[in-house]
Symmetry: C2
Subunit: 106 residues, 2 copies
């Protein structure tokens, strides 16, 4: 039974991204914080967010964001880099992410 990092990275086409998934993803403060840090400081590997959750929980949140079409991930050496899909998202759901982030205090 294989464990560890082996699953191929799947990113949904922007047309396939569902509004329900985006809203659900951004309804969590930890995930919003991730998005905010990506906006502020650009692409970063998973280990550099300094959030107060365990590595496995963090991994779970990155998967949620990826499956919701909010971030893109690619491997670089032993780290996995996270990128925001801002332009794509804003084409599909104009103003949505910004409006949500402006509405949230955290």
């Amino acid at each position: 039974m294989p464990l560890g990092r082996w699953t191929p990275l799947r990113h949904p086409e922007i047309d396939q991204v569902a509004i329900d998934d985006v809203l659900h993803a951004l309804a969590d403060p930890t995930r919003r914080r991730i998005v905010r840090m990506l906006i502020a400081d650009g692409d970063r590997p998973c280990g550099t967010f300094g959030l107060e959750v365990s590595p496995s929980t963090l991994s779970h949140h990155f998967r949620s964001l990826r499956k919701a079409g909010i971030i893109r991930q690619f491997d670089s050496g032993r780290q996995r880099i996270n990128t925001l899909r801002v332009a794509e998202l804003d084409t599909r759901f104009p103003g949505l992410v910004d409006t949500i982030l402006d509405s949230a205090p955290d």
Copy 2:
């Protein structure tokens, strides 16, 4: 053990409304449909929405929307009337509801 309609109606103050609750509430297509019908046709009692869910499920959705601060309810005879808290919501989270509804296809 008392059943039926007896619980006093609680509406959160607009300042107490949490963004997480709003996003979560609007992440459900049935609840978005309710909001849309309220925008389109104005205040209406619970029984006039014609959605394909059971009465108890519908009641559950109305409670979600009420606790999220999205609707207000008051009793009138044997019906319970639903009102959107649009103005209040737009003060607290400018543009949020409209942007979400514009982003959703249903």
